[in-house]
Symmetry: C2
Subunit: 212 residues, 2 copies
């Protein structure tokens, strides 16, 4: 049986390979969606036999959940950031959240991809993600948007729509990098590209919602 939850410094061999599997799995699941991904595909990319995956994870579903919890850790980090900024104005907090979202989205592009993929499909996996990874944070951002509207600093659109539009807009360039490369011959994932993108998101996308 695999040792679960031993988050100690010297992770045994088992935990190290499990982590590698999770990493590969997250990448593939987020790009392709659950059913496009095969256990043997993950195994190959991780340099393991497919049977090994079933030693560490009971089945494909469990592996998916386990991989998604990696994103949960990233989100939790963002939430701690927001906790630390609770004294700032709602708009300032939103700005901080967006900047952080960009940072983690470039570092963990799986985040936005998973949201897009499962958020469109609906179903059980989305419900699970909502409960274990995304829901709390999204509702928190919506509350910030609502507060900013009530304070008269954001244009009065439904806060849920604002939050989704901001995130979908910001993640678009990251998620759709393959499309951009193909259609425009333009690769946004470079140092300059990321810098331009950050400025675009903060100084055009977000600022469009701010009242003059």
């Amino acid at each position: 049986m695999a040792a679960l939850g031993s988050a100690t410094v010297s992770a045994g061999k088992g935990e190290r390979t499990a982590a590698r599997i999770r990493e590969v799995a997250l990448d593939q699941f987020s790009r392709l969606g659950f059913e496009r991904v095969t256990m043997s595909g993950i195994a190959e990319a991780a340099g393991l036999s497919q049977a090994t995956l079933h030693y560490h994870f009971q089945d494909k579903d469990q592996l998916w959940r386990s991989a998604m919890l990696g994103l949960g850790a990233v989100i939790a980090e963002e939430e701690r950031m927001l906790d630390a900024a609770q004294d700032a104005s709602p708009l300032a907090q939103l700005r901080i959240a967006m900047r952080f979202f960009l940072r983690i989205s470039w570092k963990h592009p799986a985040l936005g991809r998973v949201v897009a993929l499962e958020g469109m499909a609906g179903g059980e996996r989305l419900a699970w993600l909502d409960e274990h990874v995304l829901g709390h944070r999204n509702r928190r951002l919506a509350a910030l948007a609502r507060a900013a509207i009530e304070a008269g600093v954001l244009k009065p659109f439904p806060p849920e729509m604002i939050v989704i539009t901001l995130q979908a807009g910001a993640a678009g360039v990251i998620n759709l990098a393959p499309l951009m490369r193909g259609t425009f011959g333009f690769d946004p994932d470079t140092a300059e590209g990321r810098a331009a993108h950050e400025s675009l998101v903060l100084d055009a996308l977000l600022s469009g919602f701010v009242k003059n």
Copy 2:
């Protein structure tokens, strides 16, 4: 053999069922992605046997292509709109394009979903979509954005990023309706929701990119 391309008024029985199959297929493919969809699932939703699908379409790939060409027709319509507005300023044309994009996205939500799904995954299907459905139009919009920047009316970000951000932002609320319902208990797909969304896209999202 099925009669192909007989786009006459009185479509024979064959063409009518083929059209129904394409319709169901487009909906499912766009929500779930290629591999999540099964031939028998489409057959069931269309009230047909799965063998009938193979009578009308050689294989699953062909059915996918055929369904996607339905989106091609929608895009072509948009392009004719733009042709008719060629005398307007680049920014006015972008505005027209966005308004039209909203209209067709609510009417054919498959469009944005397919872009998101395949645009993230990359690969052969994306290349096919780029060539047969999306590429020309996206490059045209990017050219408009570039012209608007050169005319000094849009903020100077990479036009490819602007175009993708506008579309991803506008499509977000539509694509992610299932997520919004689950997370916020908020359904954007109502008469008021759509109206608020149109205003949000034109008066906040797009206007954020316009120079003051």
